[in-house]
């Protein structure tokens, strides 16, 4: 069944989730039968610090309207310090995107633990709402990745 059944525009959101906390948080949201938008596509990464800036840009290139990165709460990283590095990197990168004139609300970092299924669903709902209000991302995509309307 196509997602856009009623042809109403829905944003495409990419969420990078770390294996140990946030992905488990998403899992918990699922098993707790909490709902969050189907437009959120989760990409599991070993640790939030695995997220290369290129991943974020690639997601935008291929048509993402918003990108969110989730990891363990600072201090709780499975590898002790990975998310501390990720925190600096993503701050720098998202600040640069803002500097280049990309709406700053399109990028976000949230810390979600394995026990926070509630928070995961709430964050995704909120982020999807923000992106829906912002509308389609036209500033950072590659035109060749936009589906032509038949």
């Amino acid at each position: 069944m196509p997602i856009n059944e009623n042809k109403e525009w829905k944003p495409l959101i990419v969420a990078f989730c770390c294996n140990w906390c946030s992905y488990a948080g998403a899992d918990l949201a699922g098993t707790s039968r909490l709902s969050y938008p189907a437009e959120v596509k989760i990409i599991k990464v070993p640790c939030s610090c695995r997220v290369n800036p290129m991943f974020i840009l690639k997601a935008f290139e291929r048509g993402a309207d918003g990108v969110i990165m989730c990891g363990c709460h600072p201090g709780d990283c499975h590898y002790s310090t990975g998310n501390y590095y990720a925190r600096r990197r993503m701050t720098m990168l998202f600040s640069m995107l803002d500097y280049l004139g990309i709406d700053r609300q399109r990028t976000r970092v949230e810390w979600v633990s394995a026990a926070e299924g509630q928070k995961f669903a709430a964050v995704m709902n909120d982020f999807a709402k923000t992106i829906t209000e912002l509308g389609e991302n036209v500033k950072l995509g590659d035109l060749r990745c936009k589906k032509q309307q038949d």
Partner: protein
Amino acid sequence: MQKTAGLIKKRALELLADGTVTKVLGWEEGDFIYDVTPAFFDKETIDSLVFSSFCGSNLSKYLIKACKEQTEGKILVFLKPCDTFSFNQLLTEHRIDREKVYVVGVECKGMLDIEKIKALGINGVTKVIDNGESLNIKTIYGEKTCERSEVLLEKCTTCKSKELVVFDEVLGEKAENENSQDRFAQVAALEAMTTEERYAFWQGELSKCIRCNACRNVCPACSCMKCVFDNIQSGVASKSNADTFEEKMFHIIRAFHVAGRCTDCGECSRVCPQGIPLHLLNRKFIKDINELYGDYQAGEEAGSRAPLVNFTFDDAEPSVIHERGNS
């Protein structure tokens, strides 16, 4: 300047003669005064070594390869104050071997930009005489003059320091860094714009990019053996500017990869054939780092830990970006 040029040549000859160094890295004379080329010299070729107000190029990157090839003796290199920061940064990253290099620091009053001279309508330049304050320019259309301060290289108008941070000896007279403008003024001006204005500004600038890679190849911090953009298997290698996204991707990643390691030597903007102010990307990172993680100048101190491979437990959350004033 004339005097410093004489000192440099004399010193190079002496150091070659007494065996302190086996080769010299400096600038070679061109057809016109402004087209000097970085080159290695030995006793036979040292005659064509020059130094002038157009020696803006940063020689430190050439030492990466030269150090690998150097088996015996030292290489003499002439570094201006800003170049010494790059040298230190390369030392920090273990790309060059301090033991193999003899650094002669050359004091600098700011280097000149031939493009700016031409932009004043001075065409057909064959010779430029630098009087310290003004320039006497010989052209095929007669003699012209202009003020030195109006044709400084972009990087020299916002000189970060006249301090030599690493050297074995120093030549020339120390210059004062008094007329230099605020390095972050342009970044701050962009930050003060609205998102749409910033987008329009960068769209206009980055769409000029022809992907010649000059900014990357000249950068002393870009010293990867193989760049991700040259690797066909990376999935992002592309020579084209088929879509504006590719320039953005390239320039964001280029600037990000040197964030915290960039000494702000300004070479990227100097070499851009399309005149894109690339240093404004690097400076944005430097400004952010200074504001969020404390003042840091890459290359000021050999061995210092770059901010993006470092952290503290109470670093700012990424949400600080969302909480900034304008939108």
